[in-house]
């Protein structure tokens, strides 16, 4: 069963991101909301990948970020190509297309 991992804390907080990585199974997805969207900055995105790749999965994790939270924080210019932006509508669709969600905070 697929899990949507919802992360809402800034890169200042190492713990939620590390748990998200440790509980990640193949075919899961990660959604960055609220202050977790700061992980899409050019300096912090490599850190996030390093955390989430810890478990050496065969494929890279699928990462989404909430557009409303990105725009709010003034960081829409620098979203990495492999981060998919979703609106609240997409957020809902992600929760429906995964079997469950886990919120790391």
């Amino acid at each position: 069963m697929k899990t949507l991992h919802i992360l809402n804390k800034s890169p200042k907080h190492a713990f939620p991101a590390s748990q998200c990585a440790r509980f990640y199974s193949q075919h899961d997805s990660i959604l960055l909301i609220e202050d977790a969207v700061y992980y899409t900055l050019p300096t912090t995105y490599p850190l996030f990948l390093a955390i989430t790749e810890l478990r050496a999965l065969p494929t890279k994790p699928t990462i989404y970020a909430l557009k409303e939270d990105i725009d709010a924080r003034g960081i829409s210019e620098t979203t990495p190509n492999d981060v998919k932006l979703v609106t609240y509508e997409g957020f809902v669709e992600l929760t429906a297309s995964h079997d469950k969600s886990a919120s790391w905070y």
């Binding site: 069963m1 713990f15 748990q19 509980f23 469950k100 969600s101």
Partner: protein, 123 residues
């Protein structure tokens, strides 16, 4: 509400005992779930392993003993306790310091527990 043994609810606890009321509110939720005969698993990760420490004496900071409350859970039929082994190591905790008999799990096992659960609640 009828008991449903096919569904498994994974309750993930990650907070220290006295940083907020979340530790106690998680226990309250588990007691309610047990009363309705839900199939629940409790998994202690991160700072939540500090909830398990035996010798807590919080009277002087006007708090209720979290370890004592946890120790009572088996009386209410709650028995599936799991703990993130790496979190125990991080804080240097050994079995005899813990208030509950508890099964240590690896990150791989934790990921499987989450994958197999019907729902999860993070406290």
């Amino acid at each position: 509400m009828t008991p449903n043994t096919h569904k498994t609810l994974l309750v993930i606890l990650s907070q220290s005992p006295y940083s907020s009321s979340l530790a106690r509110e998680a226990v309250d939720y588990c007691l309610a779930a047990a009363a309705f005969e839900q199939n629940i698993q409790l998994l202690f990760i991160g700072d939540a392993v500090l909830q398990l420490l035996n010798d807590q004496q919080p009277a002087n900071i006007s708090q209720k003993n979290v370890a004592k409350t946890l120790s009572a859970l088996p009386i209410y039929g709650i028995g599936n306790f799991f703990v993130d082994h790496e979190a125990l190591v991080r804080y240097g905790l050994s079995d005899e310091q813990l208030c509950l008999p508890i099964r240590k799990v690896t990150p791989r096992q934790m990921a499987d527990m989450l994958a197999n659960a019907t729902h999860t609640l993070n406290f």
